[in-house]
């Protein structure tokens, strides 16, 4: 069964064809980084305008790469939230139009759930229930996941998302954009325990907070005045460690609390080498099975994760009607 997945929740336009929920036949992503670079990030109106221009050829390219036509598609899955309203609308309206004209099922997909599903693409050894950790520029959330349809929310960030902390930390350290990969790279040369940056402890033990860490880095840099080239890797590594430490500890705590032995991580920050290394290492000590998406392309926003999850929803009869609406604020 071939599912077309469409993802336009933020700054990426992506379309993918996935066979039987796990085999990626094609996965086209127009990274709009180049278009956004002059602004230093995502511009909502520009993102949706760009998506309007891209969506047609991205879907066509996904079909071409898969050596198929619209008539070969069995269903369409599309992200309906959370995300930027204007951007989400383009994907959802496009998918609805296709579903209507081709008379095939439409499946609305939650973007956050799809990020966790990215782990099931090309991997077959993940068992339910698991603890899902979604980490990106806009999200830092923990879930208890019983099957492809059932997600219990455990906690999330109270202020900044962890990807945002990376981004702002990089700005404070004058490293540039995008901050995450730059901090990851420079941290490899640094001592991660050189500076003791704070870790937030909150009433809900599964909530996160990274705003205080950002301020703490700022204070440190201000007090220092000028940061030498020699010291920069130590600061970056210590800052990164403060983020990673909390993510790892809380994910493991959640697994112990829910008595499950599996942790699944998704979202752009799951590409970070330190979170991968540390969670594997700490998880091993506790006999936990840790899963990250197989490739970088599956960490960031992509249509394959949407198509893949769509397959299982379709199997359960969880299709959407043509009045599927966007939900920019759901989690």
């Amino acid at each position: 069964m071939l599912i077309l997945g469409i993802e336009t929740s933020c700054d990426e336009t992506s379309a993918s064809i996935v066979k039987d929920g796990t085999i990626i036949v094609s996965n086209i992503i127009t990274s709009q980084d180049k278009i956004h670079a002059p602004f230093g990030g995502v511009v909502p109106e520009l993102a949706s305008r760009e998506q309007l221009e891209s969506i047609g050829w991205v879907v066509k390219e996904a079909l071409n790469k898969a050596n198929t036509k619209f008539s070969g598609i069995d269903a369409i899955a599309v992200t309906y939230g959370p995300g930027l309203a204007g951007s989400l609308l383009i994907g959802v309206e496009f998918a609805k139009t296709l579903s209507y004209s081709l008379s095939i099922p439409l499946i609305g997909i939650n973007h956050i759930h799809a990020h966790l599903y990215a782990n099931f693409l090309g991997q077959h050894n993940i068992e339910f229930p698991y603890i899902g950790l979604v980490i990106s520029g806009g999200h830092t959330s923990l879930f208890y996941v019983e099957d492809f349809m059932t997600y219990s929310f455990l906690g999330q960030t109270r202020d900044d998302a962890c990807g945002e902390a990376f981004d702002k930390g990089a700005q404070i350290l004058n490293l540039g954009y995008p901050g995450g990969p730059l901090i990851d790279r420079i941290s490899k040369k640094g001592n991660l325990s050189a500076i003791k940056f704070p870790r937030a402890h909150l009433e809900n033990k599964f909530d996160f907070s990274f705003s205080g860490l950002k301020t703490s880095l700022l204070r440190y840099v201000e007090k220092k005045g000028k940061i030498s080239k020699k010291e920069l890797p130590d600061i970056a590594a210590s800052f990164q460690e403060a983020i990673v430490d909390v993510l790892v500890k809380k994910a493991i705590l959640a697994a112990e609390y829910k008595k499950t032995d599996t942790i699944v991580v998704g979202g752009g920050v799951s590409a970070n080498s330190r979170i991968r290394g540390k969670l594997e290492e700490e998880g091993k000590k506790k006999n936990l099975k840790i899963h990250f998406p197989n490739e970088l392309k599956l960490c960031t926003d992509n249509g394959a994760m949407v198509a893949g999850l769509g397959y299982w929803m379709l199997k359960e009869g969880k299709t959407s009607s043509l009045d599927l609406d966007i939900q920019p604020n759901i989690f």
Binding site: C10, V42, A85, D160, A161, S211, T215
Partner: protein
């Protein structure tokens, strides 16, 4: 007209925000300025509580996703221009929020000062050398001069209680 306040902790900043939030009306525009870590998102957490958003609803930074929307006694649009640069911002589709039916709260508002037609309630936050201390300045621009006048009376009443 300006009001200068000081805060010794994030919870004090939230309390000031709550007082502001309680005094806001449909169509109000609040612009926040101040460096990274100055407490913009923190005071907004207070403002939204003052507008009736339940405290269990987290008011998070929209730096990456740009807009968060909340439902209090009025719709609240929480925007963040952190990632945006240049005059191209004025070409973006913010009008529908700014001139809509809710309350619009904008972080890094200095970036669209001109676009706001000089009519907004300006909140500037500065951090002081002592770790948690912040200087908070409220300034009413345009029609908000009067609003600030009302705040001044209410804030001083509340504080003397």
């Amino acid at each position: 007209m300006k009001i200068k306040l000081s805060s010794n902790s994030p919870s004090e900043t939230i309390k000031i925000g709550e007082k502001i939030g309680r005094n806001l009306n449909k169509g109000d525009i609040i612009g926040l300025t101040g460096k990274l870590g100055a407490g913009k998102t923190t005071i907004i957490q207070g403002i939204t509580h003052g507008l009736g958003v339940e405290s269990k609803q987290y008011v998070r930074s929209p730096s990456f996703v740009l807009i968060h929307q909340y439902e209090g006694r009025l719709p609240i649009y929480h925007m963040d221009l952190y990632r945006l640069k240049g005059k191209e911002i004025t070409e973006l589709g913010y009008e529908e929020y700014i001139f809509g039916n809710g309350v619009c709260i904008i972080e890094w508002a200095e970036k669209i000062d001109g676009f706001l037609r000089k009519e907004w309630l300006h909140i500037n936050l500065e951090y002081l050398p002592e770790d948690n201390k912040r200087k908070i300045t409220l300034e009413g621009k345009g029609k908000y001069e009067k609003v600030i006048g009302r705040f001044k009376i209410r804030l001083s009443k509340k504080e003397s209680n």
